[in-house]
Symmetry: C2
Subunit: 303 residues, 2 copies
């Protein structure tokens, strides 16, 4: 199938009901954000063998691409507005791969009310490379930032930590056959299909002083908050929430592992009741203090 | 060099003077387009061996990435506003490759007043994959579209056609040693470093009925205008501007070849004097007529 027929069949339907997409027939989209709203824009790439294994279902790869970006919007307190897709797929992968990818993409863009507004579809040489640019909306002046943490703030994390890293280990066959973790579908799903905390991000707009999503690892992302907010942090390691009983050495590893896509945020102590009342699974794990925070390195690409 | 040190050294300076970039320290950029302006957003990818050969200077690859996207903005009559970069570079390419890439990027982003507002830097496995999302600004309601061509419009093209395709043939060594084209630096440069027609695009806002940039090939891109405008076209093939005397069979090939990044546009006949007075190198090559236009295929990716 050629490029234009493919776009029309698989992707044009994803632009429906979003006038700015111009039906994916123009050189670019034409966007007028609503009054009193700011655009929150982020871009992310996924490269085969680096960010995903390659043998996942193409639909799951699409979901991961979408949700990683939505997690960045969540961290800023933004709602999904529209997105732009870049596809680089070797011709050897064939039409079936793309159709399955489009299936996952379609489901997720509908689920998150996230119309496709443009993109670029082409062949890459040997490995799949994908990009998504996500545009979100936030009321002017209400975006959550990394740089707002205040001395004395409590540090919170949503959900549980390290599940995705454990899921990846399971998928890679890194646990011995008798390990209780070997077949844990919950953990595998946590790696394959992140859950962006969009609702929580929205609720935190008027509560949190700073926020980030955990993509590089809990400690590394806390480092980002501390660096931009010019402060340090003290962590109560026993409070860090794990979904499973785990040996201590694995816990230490997981707090520097990536792909959690939970929110890490700080808020003044007087907000603690309000935060617990949010009805989300949130744990207070420490406090912002004076000083300089130096985390052990999380996952970083090397050049 | 690790990912964060690299971003800070090479890319943070490119976000200077653009507050919405938040110094590249947050999960996303925070953009408030000026009053009475619309955002024009497009995304494009470049994959090694597909969109570039791989042995070009990294600085030239950066320029090509930037300029292909700027050409899409030009086609909509938009001015550069800000951009988002996705880098997938194998670790084997090393720091030197990235530093040279950043040099070309820095020069072009300054030249075009196009601040970097976000991005994603990571390793890809074996080949380089790059993405750029370009945001432009256009006064509300003044964007040029593909779908506005009217029966009786003249069809114009800027610059000359096929130079980039010839340049690529030269770089690939496809011309025999005695060919007069074998060493033609102008043609090579036309392939390596496109010139986005931003000034022309701006001037055409109130003149042209439809516009597109020629990236897929003159005939193929004319097809896009005709399809979205529900019309056909008649071309005076002798008028198509080439920069060199060429054998007829090469001319026929070049009008379906891509990468020109010139503007193809249509305008009512009464605008012809105004168009010639623009002081740009513009040629009238045909007319919009009733019917359905069927071009031979230009370059398309296959799946």
């Amino acid at each position: 199938m050629n490029e234009f027929a493919l776009i029309k069949k698989l992707f044009t339907p994803l632009s429906a009901n979003f006038p700015g997409a111009l039906g994916l027939t123009d050189d670019a989209a034409l966007i007028s954000p609503p009054d009193n709203m700011q655009l929150v824009i982020t871009t992310d790439m996924l490269h085969e063998t680096i960010h995903f294994i390659g043998n996942e279902s193409p639909a799951d790869i699409a979901r991961k691409l979408v949700r990683r970006n939505l997690s960045d919007l969540a961290a800023m307190g933004a709602e999904p507005y529209c997105c732009f897709l870049g596809l680089g797929v070797p011709s050897t992968r064939g039409k079936a791969w793309l159709e399955s990818f489009a299936e996952g993409l379609t489901e997720d863009l509908q689920k998150f009310a996230f119309p496709l507004s443009g993109g670029d579809t082409g062949n890459s040489k040997t490995h799949i490379s994908l990009s998504l640019t996500a545009c979100g909306l936030v009321p002017t002046g209400q975006a959550l930032r990394r740089n707002g943490a205040q001395i004395g703030d409590d540090i919170y994390v949503s959900g549980t930590i390290g599940d995705a890293a454990l899921g990846l280990k399971i998928l890679r066959g890194e646990f011995p056959p008798h390990s209780f973790l070997k077949q844990d579908d919950f953990l595998k799903q946590r790696y394959l299909i992140p859950q962006p905390r969009l609702e929580l991000g929205k609720k935190l707009r008027e509560i949190a002083n700073s926020c980030i999503d955990i993509s590089d690892g809990l400690l590394q992302d806390l480092q980002h908050i501390c660096t931009t907010s010019h402060c340090s942090a003290t962590i109560n390691y026993e409070k860090i929430p794990f979904s499973r009983p785990l040996p201590p050495e694995l816990k230490s590893e997981l707090i520097s592992a990536g792909d959690d896509y939970e929110l890490l945020f700080t808020a003044p102590t007087e907000k603690s009741a309000e935060i617990l009342a949010l009805g989300e699974n949130i744990t207070c794990i420490g406090k912002i203090i004076v000083g300089e925070f130096v985390a052990p390195s999380g996952y970083q690409h090397k050049f």
